[in-house]
Amino acid sequence: MDLTPIWLTLKLAGITTVLLLIIGLPVAWWLSKGRSFIKVILEAIITMPLVLPPSVLGFYLLLAFSPEHGVGKWLQQAFNIQFVFSFQGLALASVIYSMPFMMGPIKSALQQLPVSLSQASYSLGKSKWQTFTKVLVPNIKPSLLTAIVLTFAHTLGEFGVVLMIGGNIPGVTRVASIAVYDSVGQMDYSTANAYSLILFSITFILVISVFIFNKYRLKSPLE
């Protein structure tokens, strides 16, 4: 059995999770503070992938990044970057598609922290950034862990979006979920079963680990 789709899937999930962590923490922090019309719109956009059919999202990303016109053409000509049918395209689509899984738990945890924690830190002369990194983030560790694992696990199981924007190029965009579909199409049930079992096992171990870890090690002291 060719393990390349599994490694490609893990690589995609890892990159997506790291990128979303970098983007998600500050954005979730900003969204958690107060409400405004812009925030409501942004939150709705971030939440859309939860309810939108993945093929719809994939279709629009395909159109947006097509090298034939618009943004895709400009990226191709100016930077020689192609998002369609490439690994970077998969990463971009995964970041967009998995965004609510990273943002949701972090934003909700930040909102639940008493506002007096930030105020206490400010009264000691600490900046907003110092308060965020030294006080707020360390006190949402369980939710942060949940967000990281959910994002990683969700990216492992992506299908519609990656198929639309990445296609099925072996070694480049043929991730495990597509390899399963492809194997079934070729009536190769044993290979489909092997890929499925590996995906199932990784996801199950990840999810059960976070439950155990949060229950015994990282239970929020604010609870």
Partner: protein, 210 residues
Amino acid sequence: MISIDIEKKLKVYQGQRLLKIAAEFPTGSIIKIHGPSGAGKTTFLKIIAGFIQPENGKIVADKVTWLDTSAKIILAPQKRKAGFVFQDYALFPNMTVQQHLEYATKDGAWIKRLLAIGKLETLITHKPEHLSGGQQQRLAILRALAIKPKLLLMDEPFSALDADMKTGLINDLRSFFKDQGTTVLIVSHNQQELEDLADRELIIDTNFHE
């Protein structure tokens, strides 16, 4: 000298009420603030600290304008550096007693003295969840003192302390305030409390008067 003249609309059941306070406090004075629940005592302290903005007002502390709504001057809480003891303590769950004080100051000798004042020397590795209510309250006071504030705002700071601990701590605080020339505003629900510590009194009710 701290001079305060503020107006803030408070949300109350079925409407709004105006919190209007004008007062001047000499540097080094200790002021006890009391009044009925919901009168706006905590809001008043938070306005001074810069956590809440009033609709109209001016606050000048030692000739520095902290707030002037007409001139659109709003000094950030970080610049005001008023020590604040929160009613809910607002301790950081991720930090030990020692780390709380180290977060506020790098002065090791001062941290040692604070720990002695609060009688928390043996608990430096404990996080708030492993401290009693009284110990948490003392840590909240010590953390606010750690920055040696010129103005200290205390919201029900002794409510969880037993009588002996309270008397001892108040004696230590009195000498600290005198040494540092700290101006202190203490909210207390008990009108008889702190009579031997405070030298002034501010009553906040629906009709403010000093």
